[in-house]
Symmetry: C2
Subunit: 209 residues, 2 copies
Amino acid sequence: MNQKFFKLPQERQDLIRNSAMVEFGGGSFKKTSADSIAKRAGVSKGLLFHYFKDKREMYLYLFQYAIDECVEIFNRHILKNTYFKETDFFLILEKGQKVKMDMVRRHPGLFRFVMRAYYERDSVLTPKLRKKLDDVLAQTTDSFLARADLYKFKDGVDPRAVVRLLTLSAEGMLAETGAYTAEEIETLFLEYQKYAQMLRQNLYKEEYL
Amino acid sequence: MNQKFFKLPQERQDLIRNSAMVEFGGGSFKKTSADSIAKRAGVSKGLLFHYFKDKREMYLYLFQYAIDECVEIFNRHILKNTYFKETDFFLILEKGQKVKMDMVRRHPGLFRFVMRAYYERDSVLTPKLRKKLDDVLAQTTDSFLARADLYKFKDGVDPRAVVRLLTLSAEGMLAETGAYTAEEIETLFLEYQKYAQMLRQNLYKEEYL
DNA sequence: GGGGTCTTGACCGATTTGGTCAACGGCGGT
DNA sequence: ACCGCCGTTGACCAAATCGGTCAAGACCCC
């Protein structure tokens, strides 16, 4: 790909990347046209092919970029929690979800794109990229569980199941609406918090409520 | 649409309907080609346009059909529970989920199709059809909550939130994998049951465990 | 006004699109 | 054996869309 892309102002890079991720996230690789991406970004198709040699390269770059971006905000999140010595499961989770929502605000379509790219049949992704995502996902959960106070849970409660259940519900919400705007995200976040609170209230030992 | 379609053997009707729903469920109305539907069904494109006057008509018919089918299995489910006088929240939910899984087995792609059709921008759906789905969805939840023993829940637990949380997680699972085969469905079902059990164990008053 | 950079929009051949239609094949009746 | 019927096909159509190219414009600083 053309390195000049990175010399563009950040906003313009984001404009192009976000438009592309939204479009790719809305359909398969094949069914997503370069034209629709250009239109969404408000630039000419020619410009896209000026920076990316073809559709495939753009797609692969976006996936790589998306993962890197996830890793970065994830690390920032970790750092914050370490700094504030936050160790409560649901408080970390809440902050994590807030960070995630910020991400959706800055990069609408990123998560949808990543999920779609990962699960697409006839994937265009290299095995390496797939593995990279696997690793990131596994590590985030593990790292999260490692620094949370799991003893607060009642006996017999599997914290992994709690994380997974809440994550699934968040994905369900995202899949339902395909929320993009800040307000939509905020609404979803509030609903999510309700469920998290319900779980906290009932899965924690009484002395930790 | 051509009424002769209904004189076809049931299997063949299903073959065509299911193929169409799977394809429509995988992308937007515009991006889904009649050709791909025909190929999936293993019939010629000409045949499709012999039974449906155009793509739009086929789409609208499928949505109507999908809702009707949902209503039917829903009623069967109600009937069974009434017959067996089942009133436990989680037992009804479990059976309901089983019925749903059977549905996915008989009509792979139906739920994805309905969800996609409902949430698609530039919808091709008539407002009436949208409202019909709204009604069905609202009614199923209400009817379910009405016949379940809600007093078993601890004070302060909102049963509606429990239903919604579990439904969301199921949608999340479906969105993740786009599961189609019977085994995939079975795996998902088991995971779902795990979460339901966890909730039951912790949201019910102790005397009802 | 010259030189460089970002950007455009017209343009290409190839493919795919929704939709049509004449003709085929198999089968039941006679 | 021949007919008529009906579900079905695959070639075919004009139109749109596809990924990708490229010469020329727009804008800037020197």
